[in-house]
């Protein structure tokens, strides 16, 4: 489903060039559950941004579901992102003036889905994430765990094939964090490909495939045989 071939991503900081990603080659299949760990600055967030088509690699090839993405235009990548990729961020990134339901509907609004279908799909997602009674609350009226669940609902409402989570529990306490992890694992069990970037060893270990990055390179890549 995803094929990364010798991906490079360089940043220029002052007059120095930093290799955030250095010749990274990876493959992921549909339904994978992958964690990406590593120290700060190891390139794990950059990897996630490249996978999410938010960032453009400086070199190499990235094919998503058979489409070569590195040659696509900005608009082409936006369309692919809309159709295939859901994001969950550490800081939730909910729009404060919109209700939970409107935040969840936002990707469908941008995609031009008819209002009737939007309402129906938002209701479905809210129900499945146990948020139905929070539909008309604004983000500042929700707890951290609830906000992240709304954000996850927004990430999956377009039924993407790939869910990318960047420190999804970073702003949450232990209890809310494990709820959120349980939720995204449940989505993964339903068939969505899940890639989680995290600092947290406990969360990282839960994934069937664990990638460790150091200095922009893959340091280790372990997969549970049991899976």
């Amino acid at each position: 489903m995803i094929v990364l071939d010798r991906i490079e991503r360089d940043f220029t900081v002052g007059d120095e060039t930093v290799h955030a990603l250095d010749q990274v080659s990876l493959e992921f299949s549909v339904g994978d559950y992958v964690s990406v760990m590593g120290p700060s600055g190891s390139g794990k967030s950059t990897l996630l941004n490249v996978l999410g088509l938010l960032d453009r690699p400086s070199g190499g090839s990235y094919r998503l579901q058979g489409t070569e993405t590195t040659t696509l235009s900005e608009e082409g990548r936006a369309a692919l992102r809309r159709a295939h990729i859901g994001f969950v961020f550490q800081a939730f990134h909910l729009i404060p003036r919109l209700t939970a339901a409107d935040n969840i509907a936002l990707p469908m609004v941008l995609a031009g889905v008819a209002p009737k279908e939007r309402t129906q799909r938002v209701a479905e997602v809210l129900a499945s994430l146990d948020l139905a009674d929070r539909a008309h609350h604004r983000p500042d009226q929700l707890s951290g765990g609830q906000r992240q669940r709304v954000a996850i609902a927004r990430a999956v409402v377009m039924r993407p094939t790939l869910l990318l989570a960047d420190e999804p529990t970073g702003n949450l306490d232990q209890h809310a964090g494990s709820e959120v992890i349980a939720l995204i694992e449940q989505l993964n069990a339903g068939g969505i490909t899940l890639i989680v970037v995290t600092h947290d060893q406990a969360i990282g270990r839960r994934a069937r495939r664990r990638i460790r990055m150091v200095d922009g390179r893959i340091d280790s890549d372990d997969t549970d045989e049991a899976a």
């Binding site: 999410g52 938010l54 900005e74 936006a78 159709a83 003036r97 990707p107 941008l110 031009g112 377009m158």
Partner: protein, 401 residues
């Protein structure tokens, strides 16, 4: 993105920053309102002046005896010329098709008395057509009868001021007044406000032209008012009238013809230009409001960087982000413009109430142009912030770097 969703989204983000939006609406609406009110004032002034001229009569030519030369000197308004204009000259003009009607006039001063009261007033010798040509209204009674202009009649129509002075509160119709040593029966009173451009008709008395000629013992006319059939006929009527008189005066071109419409259209042009100028000056405030919109939108973009990053992560294309912010800017401008129209309507209403005589009304183009300029300014000045938003790098936007 569907249009209703786009509008709803923009509306929601505008109502999210209420103070800023209200300030912006205020700036834009003041701009639009001042354009509309000022052009209404300019247009009102134009209509007022044009109306004053129109009350003199429309499609009017005035023929004076004597020829204005380009060598200077006062215009021969009271000029003595070797050859007078006569009643026959005036009646000959009616042969011309482009001339609808004429009013030969003689003017003189004479004492007018009733009982023991006597006043020295201006006596006008005229015909029945004088009243419609000069747009005079009859307050009571009737105008001069439509008799043969060559025949005299002992009837008179008096101005309302003269009526007050001579008769007080007495019944006036049917009374006999004395002008010099002749008696005339009053058959009508001219309506109040019979004034046009300084010539007050309140203190005059109008009698048939033939009677006036015999009263003053002079066959010559003071002037002839000529009404052309239409605006297009004025030039033809002028030429034809000159030609007719020239033939009657042995080939001598010895009359002056003034067209009132030429005068009128000059005033009309000047005042119209004034209206445009005032409107244009007011439109500067719209440009200022446009720059304010740009400022507001730039602030909005920098405050909503994370939101823009998020929208891109959710699959919004550059074009979509651009459209979202442009729609916001235009919506801001358009609602400001509409508020401005309401303010202008209220302002014009109040002014009309205060000055009922002044024909105050905005020409149709003013609100249309004001709204168009406002929305155009919103669009123009919204482009820069919207482009800045569209170009944001999503990774940097989301991490706040």
């Amino acid at each position: 993105m569907r249009l209703p969703d786009l509008l709803a989204f923009a509306g929601r983000s505008l109502s999210g920053t209420r103070t800023r939006t209200v300030m912006m609406l205020l700036a834009m609406s003041i701009g639009v309102a001042s354009v509309v009110v000022l052009t209404a004032l300019g247009e009102g002034a134009r209509r007022y002046v044009v109306g004053e001229f129109a009350s003199l009569g429309t499609h009017l030519l005035i023929m004076l005896p004597g020829r204005t030369e380009t060598t200077g000197g006062a215009p021969p308004l009271f000029g003595e010329t070797p050859r007078d204009l006569t009643l026959d000259d005036a009646l000959a003009l009616l042969r011309e098709r482009s001339i609808r009607r004429i009013a030969p006039l003689t003017v003189g001063n004479a004492p007018v008395s009733f009982g023991s009261r006597e006043r020295e007033v201006t006596v006008i010798g005229a015909t029945h057509d004088f009243f419609p040509i000069r747009h005079l209204t009859i307050g009571s009674g009737q105008a001069l009868p439509a008799i043969d202009p060559q025949r005299g009649a002992t009837v008179a129509v008096i101005g309302s001021g003269l009526r007050r002075e001579l008769f007080g509160s007495q019944q006036v119709l049917g009374q006999w007044v004395r002008i010099n040593d002749r008696r005339f029966r009053v058959i009508g009173v001219i309506g109040e406000g019979g004034e046009s451009l300084g010539q007050n008709l309140d203190d005059m008395i109008v009698i048939p032209v033939a009677s006036a000629q015999s009263l003053f013992d002079s066959p010559s006319l003071f002037r002839i008012l000529i009404e052309a059939r239409s605006k297009d006929d004025i030039a033809r009527a002028k030429q034809a009238a000159r030609e007719i008189i020239r033939q009657r005066h042995d080939g001598e071109d010895d009359v002056t013809i003034i067209t009132q419409d030429a005068l009128l259209s000059t005033f009309d042009k000047i005042l119209r230009a004034l209206t445009y100028t005032v409107g244009g000056i007011a439109a500067i405030s719209l440009a200022v409001a446009g720059i304010l919109i740009m400022n507001v939108m730039l602030v909005a973009v920098s405050q909503r960087v994370a939101e823009i990053g998020l929208m891109k992560a959710l699959g919004a294309s550059r074009g979509q982000v651009l459209r979202i912010f442009l729609v916001e800017a235009v919506m801001l401008a358009a609602s400001g413009a509409l508020t401005g129209l309401l303010i202008a309507a209220a302002g014009i209403g109040v002014l009309r109430h205060l000055f009922p005589a002044f024909p105050l009304s905005a020409p149709l183009w003013a609100p249309l142009a004001a709204v168009a300029v406002a929305v155009g300014a919103g669009l123009l000045f919204g482009v820069l912030p919207a482009r800045r938003a569209a170009r944001l790098d999503p990774v940097q936007a989301l991490t706040g770097r």
